[in-house]
C-alpha cells in the first residue's frame, strides 16, 4: 500500500544539497570555511531519517511512503518522475548513509585541518552524500541511475583529491572508469526493463514483472545486466580492481566511500531489484558474491599496507552481502550491510587515526606497539575487529551468521563452505593486522616516539562506531526489523524464486539457528583469531606464508595478475594498439588521397600543358592574329576624336 510522503522527507536530500551549495559559494567567507554548514546539513538529514523510520514502522507491513513530481515526458505519454519512495529498505539505508556520513564529516574536521583545499573537500563530501541519498530514495530507475553516476563522479573527485600525486590521480580515474564499465551494463538493463515494462518507476516495474510482462531468459539477462552495475560499484570480482587503489584518497574518503556508502550502493541496488531476479540470475549473483568473498580474503592475508588490508576486507565482506542477495535473503544482506558499515567505518577511521599519528605512514612494517600510545584508537579497533571477525556478541556475528545460514538453507552447500572458509580467513587477517599494528615492539622507533592519540573530533566518531559494533545494540532492533514479515513484504518474489528458494514466511518459521550451526560459525572466527595470535605473537612478519602455500601466496599478493591483465596487454593494450592503427590509417588515407589528387593534377597538367602548346596556343595565336588584323582595321576607325564617333553614331 502506498501512503503520501511526509512533507519533511524531501529535506533528507535537500538539506545536505543546500548545505553543499551554500558552502561551495560562500564557504570562503564563512568562519571555518563553512564546514559546520555541511555537518549541520547532514545532522538535519540524520534526524529526519530517524523520524521517517519511526513513521514507517508505525505503518502496517508492506506499506510504504511515496511522493513524486513529473520530470519529463516521452512520446506516448510515458512520464518520468522525480520522486521519493520510503520503504523498509530505504529507511534502513538512509540511517546508515546519514549516520556514517555525519561521523565521517566530524572526523574530517580534525583529519583535514590545514589542508589547502579544506573548503572544497567539504563541498565534495557533502555533494557525495547527497548523491548517495538521491540514489537511495529514488522511486524510479532513471533517477536512481543519475544518483548512481553522481556518486561515481564525486568519488572521482574525492579519491583524486590529493591528485598532485600521480598515483592518486590514476587511482581516481581507474575507479571512475572501472565502475562505469558496470554502469553501462546497468543502463542497458534499465532500458531493457523500460522496453518490456513501459515504465521505470520501481513499483511499476515490479508490478509488470509480477504480471509477466518480461520473463524467462529475457528477464534473466536484464537482471544480470542490471546486476553488472552492482558488480562495478560494489567492487565484485572481476571489477574489484579499483577499490584497493582508491585507498589513495584521504582516509575519511576511504571510510565514507569504500566502507559505508558508495560500495554499499551496489548491494543496496541488488537488494532493491531483488523482485526482478530469476533463479538463474540469482545463481549468477550468488556465485559472484561467493567467489569475491573468498578471493579478496586471500589477497587480504598477503597485504602489508594497513588500508589495503581493509580494502580487500571490504571487497570480501561485500561479496558476503551479494552472496546473501543471491541465496534469496536480501534482508540478511542489508543487515550485514548495516552492521558492516559501522565496524568498517570504525576500522577505517581508526586506521586514519593511526596514519595521522604516524605522519602518513601506512605500512604495517613501520608500526607495532601503538597500543599504549593510542588507547582509544586501539580499543575501538579491537571491538570492530571482533565484530568483523564474526565473534559472538558482536554485530558482525549476527549478520554474517544470517547470510551463512541462508546459504545453507538454500541448499547451496558449496557456497556455504566458501563462506565459512572466508570467515576463517577474515578472522585471521584481521588479527594479523591488529597485532602488527598495535601489539609487540615498535618496529620504527622514531615514528613511534612521535605518535600520539588523535584529537576528540577524531576519537569521538570512533567510540560511537565501536559501540554500534557491539551486538546488544542490534539485538532487539535486528530481530524486529530485518527478519520480520514487515520487511519481507517489501520483497515480492517471482513465482520461480519463491519455488526455488525458501519462501519469505518459512524463514520466520525457524528463526533460531541450530546450535551446531552457531558453534561452527563461531569456531571459524575464534579459530582464525587463535591462529593469528599464535603466528604473530612474536611480532614477526615473516609468518605470512605459513597459512597459504607459496604459489598461492604469490598469486594472491599480485592480485591474481588482474591489473596486469587489464592494463598491460588486456583491454588497455588492445585499445592502444587499435588506436595506433587508426591514427596511422587516417594519416595515410588523408595524405594519400590529397597527394594522389595532387600528383594526378600534376600529370594532367603536364599532358594538358603539351596539349596547350599545340592546340590551345595555336588557337590562341590564331585568335590573336585574327584580332590583330581586325584591330588594325578597327583602330583606324578609333581615331580618339569624339566628333568622329558622334559622326559614326549619327550615320548609323
Amino acid at each position: 500500500m502506498m501512503h503520501a510522503l511526509p512533507s519533511y522527507a524531501v529535506w533528507i536530500v535537500l538539506a545536505p544539497a543546500l548545505a553543499a551549495l551554500l558552502q561551495n559559494f560562500c564557504g570562503k567567507l564563512l568562519p571555518r570555511k563553512g564546514d559546520w554548514l555541511v555537518v549541520g546539513g547532514m545532522g538535519v538529514s540524520l534526524a529526519l531519517s530517524l523520524m521517517v523510520l519511526m513513521e514507517w514502522r508505525a505503518l502496517d507491513p508492506g506499506h510504504y511512503f511515496e511522493g513524486s513530481v513529473t520530470w519529463f515526458q516521452l512520446t506516448g505519454g510515458i512520464s518520468f518522475s522525480v520522486g521519493i519512495v520510503i520503504d523498509g529498505l530505504t529507511a534502513a539505508m538512509l540511517i546508515v548513509v546519514t549516520l556514517v556520513s555525519l561521523l565521517v564529516f566530524v572526523f574530517s574536521m580534525g583529519y583535514m585541518k590545514g589542508d589547502r583545499h579544506y573548503d572544497r573537500f567539504f563541498f565534495w563530501l557533502s555533494f557525495f552524500s547527497t548523491s548517495m541519498l538521491i540514489l537511495v530514495v529514488a522511486d524510479n530507475l532513471l533517477l536512481l541511475f543519475v544518483g548512481w553516476e553522481l556518486v561515481g563522479l564525486c568519488s572521482y573527485k574525492l579519491i583524486g583529491f590529493w591528485g598532485q600525486d600521480l598515483a592518486n590521480a590514476e587511482a581516481a580515474k581507474k575507479a571512475f572508469i572501472t565502475t562505469r564499465v558496470g554502469d553501462v551494463g546497468m543502463l542497458i538493463g534499465i532500458l531493457m526493463m523500460y522496453k518490456a515494462c513501459g515504465t521505470l518507476s520501481l513499483q511499476g516495474v515490479f508490478a509488470q514483472v509480477q504480471a509477466g510482462a518480461i520473463q524467462g531468459s529475457a528477464l534473466t539477462w536484464a537482471g544480470i545486466a542490471l546486476f553488472l552495475g552492482a558488480v562495478g560499484k560494489s567492487a565484485q570480482f572481476p571489477l574489484h580492481v579499483w577499490l584497493p587503489d582508491a585507498m589513495a584518497g584521504p582516509t575519511p574518503v576511504s571510510a565514507l566511500i569504500h566502507a559505508a556508502t558508495m560500495v554499499a550502493a551496489g548491494v543496496y541496488f541488488a537488494a532493491r531489484m531483488f523482485p526482478i531476479f530469476t533463479p538463474q540470475a540469482l545463481y549468477f549473483i550468488a556465485w559472484t558474491g561467493g567467489v569475491t568473498a573468498l578471493l579478496a580474503a586471500l589477497i587480504a592475508v598477503t597485504q602489508t599496507d594497513i588500508k589495503k588490508v581493509l580494502a580487500y576486507s571490504t571487497i570480501s565482506q561485500l561479496g558476503y552481502m551479494i552472496l546473501g542477495v543471491g541465496v534469496g535473503a536480501p534482508w540478511a544482506a542489508m543487515f550485514h550491510l548495516c552492521t558492516h558499515a559501522m565496524f568498517k567505518a570504525c576500522l577505517f577511521l581508526g586506521s586514519g587515526s593511526v596514519i595521522h599519528a604516524m605522519h602518513h605512514t601506512q605500512e604495517l612494517e613501520d608500526m607495532g606497539g601503538l597500543r599504549k600510545k593510542m588507547p582509544v584508537t586501539f580499543w575501538t579497533f579491537v571491538v570492530s575487529t571482533l565484530a568483523l571477525a564474526g565473534i559472538p556478541l558482536f554485530s558482525g556475528f549476527m549478520s554474517k551468521d544470517a547470510i551463512l545460514f541462508e546459504a545453507l538453507h538454500s541448499g547451496q552447500t558449496a557456497l556455504f563452505a566458501i563462506g565459512l572458509g572466508a570467515a576463517f580467513l577474515t578472522a585471521f587477517y584481521m588479527t594479523r593486522m591488529l597485532w602488527l599494528c598495535f601489539m609487540g615492539e615498535p618496529r620504527n622507533r622514531e615514528k613511534h616516539d612521535h605518535a600520539h592519540e588523535s584529537p576528540v573530533s577524531m576519537t569521538l566518531p570512533l567510540v560511537v562506531l565501536a559501540l554500534l559494533s557491539i551486538g546488544i545494540f542490534w539485538g532487539g532492533f535486528a530481530d524486529d526489523y530485518f527478519t520480520t514479515p514487515a520487511y519481507h513484504a517489501d520483497y515480492p518474489q517471482t513465482a520461480e524464486v519463491a519455488a526455488a528458494y525458501a519462501p519469505a514466511g518459512e524463514v520466520r518459521a525457524h528463526p533460531h539457528h541450530p546450535v551446531w550451526f552457531l558453534l561452527l560459525a563461531s569456531a571459524m572466527g575464534l579459530g582464525g583469531i587463535a591462529l593469528g595470535i599464535a603466528l604473530f605473537r612474536s611480532g614477526k612478519r615473516d609468518q605470512d606464508t605459513v597459512l597459504l602455500p607459496e604459489g598461492l601466496h604469490r598469486t594472491a599478493k599480485n592480485k591474481y595478475y588482474l591489473d596486469d591483465l587489464y592494463l598491460g596487454w588486456g583491454f588497455v593494450g588492445l585499445g592502444d594498439t587499435l588506436s595506433r592503427w587508426s591514427r596511422v590509417a587516417d594519416d595515410r588515407a588523408v595524405d594519400g588521397a590529397v597527394n594522389g589528387v595532387g600528383s594526378a593534377g600534376v600529370t594532367v597538367a603536364e599532358i594538358s600543358g603539351d596539349a596547350d602548346q599545340v592546340i590551345v596556343d595555336g588557337a590562341v595565336n590564331l585568335v590573336a592574329d585574327a584580332t590583330d588584323a581586325v584591330g588594325g582595321v578597327a583602330s583606324s576607325a578609333q581615331t580618339g576624336r569624339i566628333r568622329n564617333y558622334l559622326g559614326a553614331a549619327r550615320r548609323s
Binding site: W71, F72, L74, T75, G163, I188, L191, K195, D576, S582
Partner: protein, 506 residues
C-alpha cells in the same frame, strides 16, 4: 504547393541581406573600424533566429490553420518547406552561429585582416544551414550543402599565413570535392530511378516497396552514394578521414563552427532523406528495409569505435575533439538506426546538448590558446588554478560529452540508447553494446584532460582572464549544459514535436 510565397523564407532573406551588407560595409570601412561589421552580422543572425522562432510559434499553435493542415507550409513552388522540424533546427543553427560569432570576436582581434570576409563567410554558411533545413528536393539539397561546405573551405584556410591552416583547407577541399561528386552522382542515379528530384517522389508507395524488397537497383545505388556523400559531411567512418587534420589545422572558432554547424547540416539532410525513403508507411518502413538498417548499424558501430579509439592517445586537444566528434556522429547514427519519432527526437535533443557542450569547450580552447599559444593538452596542466571558471566549463563540457549526469549529454545519450534498445532486435542490442563500449572508452580520454586541469601542476601559474564577451559565451554554454541535464522537459517536448513533424511530413 504552387505558390511562390517568398515571404516564408524571411530568416533566409535576413541572413542573405546581412551577408551582402557585411560585404558592402567591408569595402567601405577603414581597416581599424571593422568591429561594426561583426555587430551587423550578430544582429542579422539574431534577427533571423528570432524570425524562425516566430514562425515556429505560429506553426506550433494548435489553433492555427497551418498546424491543422499537416503542419507544413511550402514556398518557392514546393521547393522550400517549413515545418516544426525545420524551425527547430534553424533555431539550433542560429544559436550556434551567434555563439560562434561571439567566440570569434576576441580571436579576430588578433587577426590583422579579413574581418569582413570571416563574418561574411560565416553568414553565408549559416544561410546554407538554414536552407538545408527547408530543402524539399535533391537539387536544393546539393546547392544548400555546397553553400555551407564552400564557405567552410574558405574559413578553414582563413589563416592564410599559417601553413597548417592552408594544408587543412586544401585537404578539406579535395576530400570535400570527392564527397560532393559522390553526392551528385548519387542524385543523378536517384533521378534515374524515380524520374524526379523531389523528395516527395521517393515517398511514393512504389519506391517504398522497391526499397523494402530490393527492387530498383539503380535507385539503391544512388541512395547509397547519397549516404556516402552525407557521411563525409557528418564525419562517419569510413568517410571521416578529413576530420582530425581539418579540426587541428583550422582556427579554433572555425573548428567549433565546423564541429557543430557543418555536422548538424549533414545530419539534418540525412534525416530528411531517410524519412523520404521510408514512404508513407513512416516509422515501420526502415525496419523492413533490412540491408539498409544493417548498413546504418555497421557505419554507426564503426564510427563509434573508430572515433573513440582514435581519440585515446591524442596530445592535441583540437585533434582529440575531432576524433571525439567522429564518435558523437556514431551516437547520432544510432538514433538514425532507430528511426522513429523517438529516435529523431533523441537525435534532436542530442544535438542541442552537443551544441552547448562543444561550443563551451571550444570557448575554453580559444581563451587558453590565446594565452599559451598552444593546443597541446599538456599545456592545460594546472588550468584550475589559472582560471577556475575555464576549468569548470571544461570539466562540465567533457563530462557532458562522456554522458555523465547531471549534464545535458547524459540525457542525449539516454534518449538515443533508449530509442535503440526499444527496437528490441539483436542488431539493436549489439549496437547498444558497442555504444556502451564507446561511452567507457570516451570517459578515459576525457578524464585524461580533467586530470591535467585539476590535478597536475602547470608550468605557469599566471591567471588566464577571459574577456567579457567570452565570459558571456562560457556562462551561456554552462547554463545550457546544466539546464538540458536537469530540466529536460521543455526542450524534449520541442524536440518531440519537431520529430513528429518530420514523421508526419507528407
Amino acid at each position: 504547393m504552387t505558390a511562390w510565397n517568398v515571404g516564408l523564407a524571411l530568416p533566409e532573406w535576413i541572413l542573405a541581406g546581412a551577408g551582402l551588407l557585411a560585404m558592402w560595409l567591408d569595402a567601405r570601412t577603414p581597416p581599424d573600424k571593422k568591429d561594426g561589421i561583426q555587430n551587423v552580422a550578430w544582429a542579422g543572425v539574431l534577427l533571423a533566429t528570432l524570425a524562425a522562432v516566430f514562425q515556429g510559434v505560429r506553426l506550433w499553435d494548435p489553433g492555427d490553420s497551418v498546424a491543422a493542415g499537416g503542419g507544413k507550409i511550402y514556398a518557392f513552388r514546393g521547393h522550400y518547406g517549413l515545418d516544426a522540424f525545420a524551425v527547430f533546427l534553424k533555431v539550433l543553427f542560429g544559436v550556434s552561429t551567434l555563439l560562434v560569432l561571439s567566440l570569434a570576436r576576441s580571436w579576430l582581434k588578433r587577426v590583422d585582416r579579413g574581418h569582413g570576409e570571416f563574418v561574411m563567410l560565416t553568414l553565408f554558411a549559416t544561410l546554407g544551414m538554414f536552407f538545408v533545413c527547408s530543402v524539399e528536393d535533391f537539387a536544393g539539397l546539393f546547392v544548400a550543402l555546397e553553400l555551407v561546405t564552400v564557405s567552410f573551405y574558405c574559413l578553414t584556410a582563413f589563416k592564410r599565413n599559417d601553413e597548417r591552416a592552408v594544408e587543412a583547407g586544401l585537404k578539406y577541399v579535395v576530400l570535400g570535392a570527392l564527397a560532393s561528386s559522390f553526392l551528385v552522382l548519387g542524385i543523378a542515379f536517384v533521378y534515374g530511378g524515380t524520374g524526379s528530384l523531389d523528395f516527395a517522389a521517393l515517398r511514393s508507395d512504389d519506391v517504398a516497396q522497391d526499397l523494402a524488397h530490393g527492387g530498383a537497383p539503380l535507385l539503391h545505388f544512388g541512395l547509397l552514394l547519397v549516404v556516402i556523400g552525407l557521411g563525409f559531411k557528418i564525419a562517419a567512418v569510413p568517410f571521416h578521414v578529413w576530420t582530425p587534420d581539418v579540426y587541428e589545422g583550422a582556427a579554433s572558432p572555425v573548428t567549433a563552427f565546423l564541429s557543430v554547424g557543418s555536422k548538424m547540416a549533414g545530419i539534418t539532410l540525412l534525416l530528411k532523406v531517410v524519412r523520404a525513403c521510408l514512404g508513407p508507411g513512416g516509422d515501420a518502413g526502415l525496419a523492413q528495409a533490412t540491408p539498409w538498417i544493417l548498413l546504418i548499424a555497421c557505419i554507426s558501430a564503426a564510427t563509434l569505435l573508430y572515433g573513440n579509439l582514435g581519440a585515446l592517445w591524442q596530445g592535441n586537444i583540437k585533434r582529440l575533439l575531432g576524433y571525439s566528434s567522429i564518435g558523437h556522429a556514431g551516437y547520432v547514427l544510432m538514433g538514425v538506426f532507430a528511426f522513429d519519432q523517438r529516435g529523431v527526437a533523441a537525435i534532436l535533443y542530442y544535438l542541442t546538448a552537443y551544441l552547448f557542450t562543444v561550443l563551451g569547450i571550444f570557448a575554453v580552447v580559444v581563451v587558453v590558446s590565446r594565452q599559451t599559444k598552444s593546443h597541446s593538452i599538456a599545456d592545460y596542466a594546472g588550468l584550475a588554478r589559472r582560471s577556475p571558471l575555464l576549468a569548470f566549463v571544461l570539466l562540465c563540457g567533457l563530462l557532458s560529452l562522456a554522458g555523465v549526469p547531471p549534464f545535458g549529454g547524459f540525457f542525449g545519450k539516454f534518449l538515443v540508447f533508449q530509442a535503440v534498445v526499444g527496437k528490441g532486435t539483436p542488431t539493436a542490442y549489439g549496437l547498444a553494446l558497442v555504444g556502451a563500449a564507446g561511452v567507457v572508452i570516451s570517459l578515459y580520454y576525457y578524464l585524461v584532460i580533467v586530470k591535467r586541469i585539476y590535478m597536475e601542476e602547470g608550468v605557469s601559474e599566471e591567471p588566464i582572464v577571459p574577456s567579457r564577451g567570452m565570459k558571456a559565451v562560457l556562462y551561456t554554454c554552462l547554463a545550457g549544459v546544466f539546464i538540458l541535464g536537469i530540466w529536460p522537459s521543455p526542450f524534449l517536448e520541442l524536440a518531440q514535436r519537431a520529430a513528429s513533424a518530420l514523421s508526419s511530413a507528407s
